[in-house]
Amino acid sequence: MIIIAILIGCIVGALIGINAPVIPYTYSTFLAIAVVAALDSVFGGITSVLKKNFDLTIFISGFFCNSILSIALTYLGQKLNLDIYLAALVVFVGRMFTNLTIIRRYYIEKWTSKIEKDDKELQQ
């Protein structure tokens, strides 16, 4: 059911996004940083699911708050003539890599333990 919801959400979002009017170039930074923040939240969510401490409220609040905050910070950076969005980018992408590492390790461990198990069964 969750997978269906994810698929429907992705497809509808993509369709509307493709047909949406083109936004001016000036605002591209805001959207990009929001996308990165949302992706960071998604990977964080996956990690927490794997760690079995997933909380929907925390995930959703993180998803939207991070995006909005990063946009606000970028805006502030523009006003201060300082590229604050670079800091946000470093943090988000760094966390994304950390989470990806955790996910990778989890599946590799699962896989290797399964192979070992199969070997043991074969030997027996």
Partner: protein, 241 residues
Amino acid sequence: MKIKIKKEKLVMSITIGIACFALMLVMFMQFNMVKQTDITGIETMRESELRLELSSWNEKYNELNTIYQETVGKSEEYKNERESYEKTYELLSKELEQLNKALGKTDVEGEGIVIQLTDKAGTQLSEDVKVKRITEEDLLIIVNQLFAAGAEAISINGHRVISTTSIFSIGEEFLKVNGERIVEPYVINAIGNPDYLKSTVSGKGGHVDALKELGHETSVDINKNIKIEKYEKELHTKYID
């Protein structure tokens, strides 16, 4: 218990779906935008670089604009100057033309009168009175009268009368105008107000009438279109500084 779990799952699915929707929407909007603004130069440049570029271009534009304005001003000046020159030239050429006309150096046309005098010298009026020949004085008087009546150009037998024109006779034989010999009939063309001219030469005191009374054949005709040729010789000054 089962329903509760389902409800929780439903809420979770919907919220995650909404989150996915928002993410994909923003992502594809961004993709679209990047695709649309696919200008290689701008894409690879940072905003600060663009600003620098823009300001440098702006400076260049301003410089060129000032030069352009200066050039336009100069060309305007030259144009004005040229126009004033042209005006002067026009005025001068007009004046020259006017002077040439007055001097008699150009062919002229206009309304006026034609006087024809046929010398009847030797004709017997009565037993002891013969008609005397037309002399240079008669012509001079007529020319003088015509000028007095406002004639602008006069010619005698095709010889233009100008400021240095001489009318004199050689012996009793013939007359000379502008140094050229002329013979009767004498035809005097005069451009001017035809009524004034005619009344001056043929009215009371007019010399043409006087000649007629002396027995010569004369005629005075008004002509709307008289052509008077230019003075055919060169105008030389030798002693005037």
